[in-house]
């Protein structure tokens, strides 16, 4: 069949959501941030909640997330996004409020704010992008950097004995009463992307039904920080990050899934 027979408006099955702005993403080629931004905006578009959604951007590679998402946003100090989200959601309980944070933001400097927002069960959604490195500032070690993994502040590999091991904050906050839906996803292949999108939809439904805090960790790549090509980084991620940060639901409808 001729291309011009196929490429017709009535045959359109997928296009970039208009809720992403026209700005070219500032992320490196192959970076999962772009995919995750797109999925969140697709869900907001499908639910028709653009006018009622407020996003909080972190400090990190995604500090400019507000340039790419066509929704009202605030930019938070490093680690403080859950506190901003709390302030907003408490006073605007019918809005959809989410934070979008990296591993340094959420699990290093923001640990206190993360734990307390989760403990209080704020009716918000936390998107946690874990790529085991501090991309924006030049590739330093993160609290989720794997043992032995090289970074600019662990140039000989992370030494868990002197620097502490990586830790799974997602499993920790899942044990707090206030968290209702906790899951770990990835966006490196089509199957996982479709699952991740369903998870994002579930999270926003949890907010709609005022059930508690929803928390999605995306294990993602940082090919620049890890010094690989995008495809190499996705393979490396599957082989190294996934065994330590396993995919799947951790808490559903307020109940921990044991195993």
């Amino acid at each position: 069949m001729e291309l011009k027979e196929i490429i017709k408006p009535e045959n359109l099955v997928y296009r970039r959501t208009p809720l992403l702005t026209d700005a070219t993403l500032s992320y490196c080629p192959g970076c999962g941030h772009g995919t995750i931004h797109r999925l969140i905006m697709e869900v907001v578009e499908e639910m028709g909640i653009q006018e009622d959604t407020i996003g909080i951007a972190p400090v990190g590679c995604s500090v400019l997330a507000y340039d790419f998402m066509d929704i009202d946003c605030s930019q938070a100090a490093h680690g403080r996004a859950p506190a901003l989200a709390t302030g907003i959601k408490r006073l605007w309980p019918d809005k959809y409020v989410f934070t979008y944070q990296g591993d340094g933001d959420l699990a290093a400097i923001g640990t206190g704010e993360t734990i307390h927002a989760c403990n209080r069960g704020e009716n918000i959604t936390i998107f946690f992008v874990n790529n085991g490195i501090y991309g924006m500032t030049g590739g330093q070690m993160a609290p989720t950097t794997l043992d032995g993994m090289k970074s600019s502040t662990s140039p000989y590999g992370r030494n868990s004995k002197t620097m502490g091991p990586p830790y799974k904050i997602t499993e920790m906050i899942a044990r707090l009463e206030g968290t209702y839906y906790v899951t770990r996803q990835s966006v490196h292949k089509p199957g996982p992307v479709r699952k991740a999108k369903k998870a994002i939809r579930t999270a926003f439904e949890v907010q709609k039904e005022k059930k508690g805090l929803s928390f999605i960790e995306f294990v993602s790549n940082c090919n620049s920080g890890w010094k690989m090509t995008p495809n190499e980084s996705n393979i490396w991620m599957e082989e190294n990050m996934f065994p330590f940060y396993p995919m799947g639901d951790i808490k559903v409808e307020g109940k921990l899934l044991e195993g």
Binding site: L3, I7, N11, L12, V13, C31, K189, P190, N231
Partner: protein
């Protein structure tokens, strides 16, 4: 039985040549062009368009959302 026939359009200037679409295409339609776009990236294109089924895998995995997908149903038999 319905057979789908698909095609993609790539926003050439927005593509960063990351090649993630290429490895996720189930029928190996996509390659990176020899030319580069305005930013210097080798952009993705359909090298073997005849094998595209319009499955949207490429579009769905693209970090920059540069791919638009079309799909037509061919030779659909109608039950009487």
């Amino acid at each position: 039985m319905a057979k789908a026939k698909g095609a993609i359009e790539v926003d050439v200037e927005r593509c960063k040549g990351c090649e993630v679409c290429m490895v996720n295409c189930p029928t190996d339609v996509i390659e990176m062009a020899g030319e580069v776009n305005g930013k210097g990236y080798h952009y993705a294109y359909m090298k073997y368009p005849e094998y595209c089924t319009g499955c949207t895998n490429c579009a769905v995995v693209c970090p920059d959302g540069v791919i638009t997908v079309y799909r037509v149903k061919q030779n659909k038999s109608i039950e009487v």
